[in-house]
Amino acid sequence: MARGAIAAGCNYYAGYPITPSSGIMTEIAAHFQATGAGVFAQMEDEIASACSLIGASWSGARAMTATSGPGFSLMQEALGYAYFTETPMVVINVQRAGPATGQATRVAQGDIMQFRYGSHGDVFPLVFCPASVADCFSLTALAFRYSEMLRLPVFIAADESVAQLRETAYLDVPAPVVPRRAVDDTPFDADIAGGVPGMPSFGDGAALLVTGSTHDGHGMRRVDSPEVHERLVVRLRNKTLLREAELDQTLLEDMADAEVAIVAYGICARSARAAKNALRQSGARVGLVHLRTLWPFPQQTLQAACANTPHVVVAELNLGQLAAVVQGVLMRPVHALSQVNGLPMSPGKIAAFIAELS
C-alpha cells in the first residue's frame, strides 16, 4: 500500500502509530526522508493526522494516512469534513478485531459499516478492499486516481491479514493520476448529476473559502437555505452512486454455471477461492464473487452474477455486516458465514459450510 501510494505520487503523509497499520507509516517516512519526495508528519493523534491531510490537500498535495480501528473512529469527524468540502485524500484502515481496543494484532472485517456510515449526515463514500499484495499496490494507486478525479476522500478497507501478507506479486504500472483542474469560478458546485468542480489550491490567488458548513458554489456559508443544502448533499451522493459501474472492481470466478456463489472480500476472498477450487475438483458447481469495491456497493454486478444461483454464501469476519446488504440487494435470503474470533477463516470451514447446504 505504501508503494502504491508512492507510485501514485503521494507527497504528504501524516500518521499516528497503531498496530497493525504502522508499517505503512514507517515505510513512507523512510522513503520521503531518503528521497525528499514528500513531507512526513508524525502527528499527536489521528484527529490531527486526518485534519492535516485536508490542509495539505488544499495546499496541492496528494495526501494519505493509514490507521486501524480506534484511530479510524477518531478520524470520523474530519473524514466527513473532507467529504463535504470535496477534498482529495486517501485513508487506509487496516481492520483489526474490535470494538474498542479488541485484539490489536488479530484480523477482522468489522468496520465495513463504519466505512459506509462512519460520519454523521448523509455520506456516500468510495471504498476499495484489497485481498493480495498486488491489490494493495494497485487499489491504493487507484484510490489516489479517483480521489483526485472525484475530489473525494477515498478509503482502503484493508484487514490485518492482507496487510501483513508476503507473496510474490506482479505489479502493473498504475494508471496515472490526472492532475486536478486547478481553475474554477465555482469550486464547490457543478452539474448536480454527479459533477465534480475544479479545485484551486491555497496560494493560487483564488481567495478560497473552504468551509465544512453548508456552502454555495463559491464556498459561502449558506446555513439557512434548504435548496443549497439539498443540492450539495444530493450532488455529492451522485458523484459515487452514479458511477457504480465505473468504480466497481469486482472479480467474478466460475460464476457462469454456479449453483453456490460465495461472496467474499479481503482475506476471506482468498479462503473462499481455495474452497471453491477444492469443491470444483469434486464436481460441485461453486463460484466466487470477489468484491474489491465495497462502497458504492456493486449492486448491478451482484444481481447479474447471482441471478441464477440458488445459494449465496457471504463469508466475512464480522457478524454478517455485508450479508445483510447482499440479502437486501438480491431480495432473497442468503447464508451468512460469520467468524469473529480474530483468526482468518479457513478454506475448510467454507467448504464444509457449503457441503452442508446441499
Binding site: N11, Y12, A14, V39, A41, M43, E44, D45, I47, A48, S49, C51, S52, L53, I54, G55, A56, S57, W58, S59, G60, A61, A63, E77, A78, Y81, S201, F202, G203, D204, G205, A206, A207, L208, L209, V210, T211, G212, S213, G219, M220, R221
Partner: protein
C-alpha cells in the same frame, strides 16, 4: 491615521455576523491593519479558523484563502497546509474554547514542533456561540450559563501554555488597546516559528448576560479586570498584558 482596509474584505459593504459590541469585529480590524503594515501579498496568506463566533473572523470576511475547519482542529489543518506549502504565511485565528479546550492538545504539539504558524486566540472567556457556558478561560468565580454561582476552576493561561510547549513568541493584549495588539500580531507573524497572541475580545452578549453591568463598555472593563486579577488572587499566577519571549 485611518487606513483603507477595504481591499482586504471580501464583501466590503456587508455587515459582519457579530452581535453589536462584539470584540471579534475589532479584532478583525486590528488583524487586517497588522497585515496591511507587513505588506504581505494576499495570495501568500492563509487564514485558518475553527468553529465558534471567532471562527467567523476570517471566514468569509477576509479576501484571501480561508479554511474554516472543525471545532478545535484549526491548528492541525493549518499544520498540513503549511507543511505542504511552506510559502504560505499561515495565521490561525479562533476562539478560546476552540484553541484552549477541545483543541488544546494540538496547540501544545504545534508549539513543540515549532510549526511556523501565528495563532491568535480570540479570547472572550466563554463559549459564545453555544450560549455562554463556562470555558477553559473563564476567570475564576465568574457566573456563566453552566455555573451560575461562579466558575469553580482556574483558567488556562494561553501564553504560558504556549511558551512552556516551545512557542517562540507570546503576547496578551485586549482589543481595547489596538496599537499594542496590532504590534503584537505583526511581531507574531514576523516571528519565524510558532507564535501566539492571546487577544482579549469580549462577548457582551453571552459573557455579559450573567454579569451585573448593563453597558457594553462596563462589560469590557470587567472582563479585562477579571482576566488580570481574578486568576491572580486565586491561583497565584497573574495573567498580565504584555509580550512574553522565551
Amino acid at each position: 491615521m485611518t487606513r483603507d482596509l477595504s481591499h482586504w474584505l471580501r464583501h466590503p459593504d456587508a455587515p459582519t455576523a457579530f452581535c453589536p459590541g462584539c470584540g471579534h469585529g475589532i479584532l478583525l480590524g486590528t488583524l487586517l491593519r497588522a497585515i496591511d503594515t507587513l505588506a504581505i501579498a494576499a495570495q501568500d496568506l492563509l487564514f485558518v479558523s475553527g468553529i465558534g463566533c471567532a471562527g467567523w473572523i476570517p471566514s468569509p470576511h477576509i479576501l484571501a484563502d480561508t479554511l474554516h475547519t472543525l471545532h478545535g482542529r484549526a491548528i492541525p489543518f493549518a499544520t498540513g497546509a503549511k507543511l505542504a506549502n511552506p510559502r504560505l504565511t499561515t495565521i490561525v485565528i479562533s476562539g478560546d474554547g476552540d484553541l484552549l479546550s477541545i483543541g488544546a492538545g494540538h496547540l501544545v504539539h504545534a508549539a513543540r514542533r515549532n510549526i511556523d504558524l501565528t495563532v491568535i486566540v480570540a479570547n472572550n472567556g466563554i463559549y459564545g456561540m453555544t450560549g455562554g457556558q463556562t470555558a477553559a478561560t473563564t476567570p475564576l468565580g465568574v457566573s456563566t450559563a453552566t455555573h451560575r454561582a461562579g466558575n469553580p476552576d482556574a483558567p488556562v493561561d494561553a501564553c504560558q501554555l504556549a511558551l512552556a510547549a516551545g512557542a517562540r513568541y507570546a503576547a496578551r493584549f485586549p482589543v481595547t488597546d489596538p496599537p499594542r495588539l496590532q504590534a503584537a500580531i505583526a511581531r507574531a507573524i514576523a516571528t519565524p516559528g510558532f507564535a501566539l497572541v492571546d487577544a482579549l475580545s469580549p462577548c457582551p452578549t453571552q459573557y455579559g448576560k450573567f454579569q451585573p453591568e448593563d453597558s457594553i463598555a462596563a462589560c469590557y472593563r470587567r472582563f479585562e479586570a477579571d482576566v488580570q486579577q481574578r486568576s491572580d488572587a486565586a491561583t497565584g499566577a497573574a495573567m498580565p498584558f504584555g509580550e512574553f519571549v522565551p
